[in-house]
């Protein structure tokens, strides 16, 4: 039955695209710029050099003649199969295995508000957590100035997730996999910069892009109050609020030559936090420092992208230890994310990626049976983007990514076998995810 439903979904999407039409990506930006998908994306969400500058320019660039309201919608119907079912269900309301769901429905708005002010604002109904809330948000003011012989694109960003403002597909908010199953088992540990603050903070930062080569940014993040988070539909469970202002920094260099685009950079986030919101024992603190690199070959019809980022987290957990939330007073966590994509004719995307996280054992902090945070695995994906050269006649801005993704775990929460103490092995969490990602 699940296979039949998945095949029917695939067939339906193929059928509505009988004749090739104009390509799009996030359709509200395609309508604004008059440009096809492939201008900003190699295969969405991965950005091209043009897409990066469109974002750095505050999402304000025009060129199209659309005069309607700036909205777009995405849907993510998918089928999730794990090698062995998850006892108790993959999530509340879901079965142990072979689940089909439209896991996320998002509404986007933004684009150019004025010549220099623009936005990317996403609201999502998450059908796994059965929750509607704000998702990624990034509002920018940007302009260009000439300083002597130098050109500076500068801007200010107001956003709700450290790294959501970044323009390379190496940092956590926009890295591969661009889509994954919300019903897939997830490792217990991740650095603070890789998600725990998403949608729970507000950050204000200033950035510059000098001579189309050197990018630098300094931002500061503050936590949203619990009431504000609740109003915005955020799950506040387990939140460790930032104390004061958490600085975020980013420096990157992007040389472009011919069809080649390189990037090397560093980034980081540092803060004191109140562990789980319990202030009686004082504060913990952490420093995340990362390095990243990306290479893109942007030929026609061949595109190749290599992405890698490595993060080291230095976590002072004295307050957590006093509260019984950590065994150690100091932990180290390291994270690696690397992937290689080959994209043919903007239509077929083949990607292989390596994910790993590891560090000092701390059973109370990570909640793992082994005490270890170590997890590692591979992700492979084949995706078909049928509308890269055009949507169907009734809606030329329709876009879709139809993919088959397989995640293979070498290690999960500290062990290859029996990682949870009741006989579950890491490879039991291997996950097949068949999805259609529709945008219009």
């Amino acid at each position: 039955m699940p296979v039949l439903v998945g095949a029917a979904t695939l067939a339906a999407v193929l059928l509505i695209g009988l004749s090739p039409r104009r390509a799009v990506s996030l359709p509200l930006y395609a309508r604004q710029t008059g440009q096809p998908c492939a201008t900003c994306h190699t295969a969405f969400w991965e950005l091209t050099p043009f897409g990066r500058r469109f974002k750095l320019g505050g999402y304000t660039l025009g060129g199209g003649d659309w005069s309607g309201p700036p909205f777009a919608v995405t849907l993510q119907p998918g089928f999730t199969h794990t090698e062995v079912g998850q006892p108790g269900g993959a999530a509340p309301h879901f079965g142990q295995n072979n689940n089909i769901t439209v896991q996320a429905t998002s509404l986007y708005t933004g684009g150019r508000i004025t010549d220099n002010l623009g936005a990317f604002i996403q609201g999502t109904y998450d059908n796994v957590s059965r929750r509607f809330g704000w998702d990624q948000a990034d509002i920018r003011y940007a302009d260009k100035v000439n300083v002597g012989d130098h050109n500076l694109l500068w801007g200010v960003t107001l956003n709700n997730n450290p790294t959501v403002q970044d323009v390379w597909n190496t940092l956590p908010a926009w890295r591969f996999p661009y889509i994954f199953s919300g019903l897939m088992p997830q490792p217990a540990a991740s650095p603070f910069i890789a998600g725990p603050f998403a949608q729970r903070v507000l950050g204000l930062g200033a950035y510059g892009f000098l001579d189309d080569l050197l990018y630098f940014e300094l931002s500061g993040y503050r936590p949203l109050s619990t009431n504000t988070q609740l109003v915005l539909g955020v799950d506040t469970t387990g939140f460790s609020p930032i104390v004061g202002i958490a600085p975020y920094w980013r420096v990157a260099i992007e040389p472009n030559f011919g069809n080649n685009s390189l990037e090397f950079g560093t980034f980081g986030l540092k803060s004191s936090v109140v562990p789980m919101g319990m202030s009686s024992a004082g504060n913990d603190s952490f420093t995340d420092i990362g390095v990243d690199a990306q290479y893109q070959y942007l030929g026609d019809p061949h595109t190749v992208t290599l992405r890698a980022a490595w993060i080291r987290e230095n976590h002072r957990t004295g307050a957590s230890q006093a509260l019984g939330l950590a065994d150690n007073s100091h932990d180290i966590l390291r994270s690696l994310n690397a992937s290689l994509s080959y994209i043919y004719d903007k239509t077929w995307s083949f990607t292989a990626g390596r994910l790993s996280v590891g560090g000092t054992a701390d059973a109370a902090l990570y909640g793992t049976f082994t005490g270890s945070p170590n997890s590692a695995g591979w992700i492979t994906e084949i995706a078909y983007l049928p509308f890269s050269y055009g949507g169907p006649s009734f809606w030329p801005w329709l876009n879709a990514r139809i993919g088959v993704q397989y995640t293979f775990f070498n290690k999960f929460n500290g062990a290859t076998t029996n990682f949870n103490g009741v006989g579950r092995n890491a490879h039991n969490n291997n996950t097949l995810f068949v999805y259609t990602w529709i945008a219009f």
């Binding site: 008059g34 096809p36 050099p49 660039l61 059965r130 506040t236 472009n256 069809n259």
Partner: protein
Amino acid sequence: MPEESRSGLAPLSRRSLLQRVAGVAGAATILCAPPSLATGAPKISQKAVAYQDHPDGNKRCDKCIQFQPPNACKIVDGTISPQGSCRIFAPIRQAVSPSSATPRLSNSACSRMVRDLHDV
């Protein structure tokens, strides 16, 4: 225990609902205003789109929808040669009768869509 609590979903009070509605309405008021077609937005550098001052086969700037005669582009910075070309070339379509287009689109969007349909 209600499902909403088990899943961590916040109870939606009338006050919260009003706050959400007010926030959405405010954002919509700002964002739904028709975007201006001003030219002040930061353009993209020539290097980022691999601009060259000679054609790439049939791809020539004066055949691109973004070209602004005599020597500019709506989205790429600097002086642009009509004989130039770049990575984001988007060809001008021949306009045809918009009668086949969906009535839900604006006239300008409709015209663009019809042009798009005849591109391939």
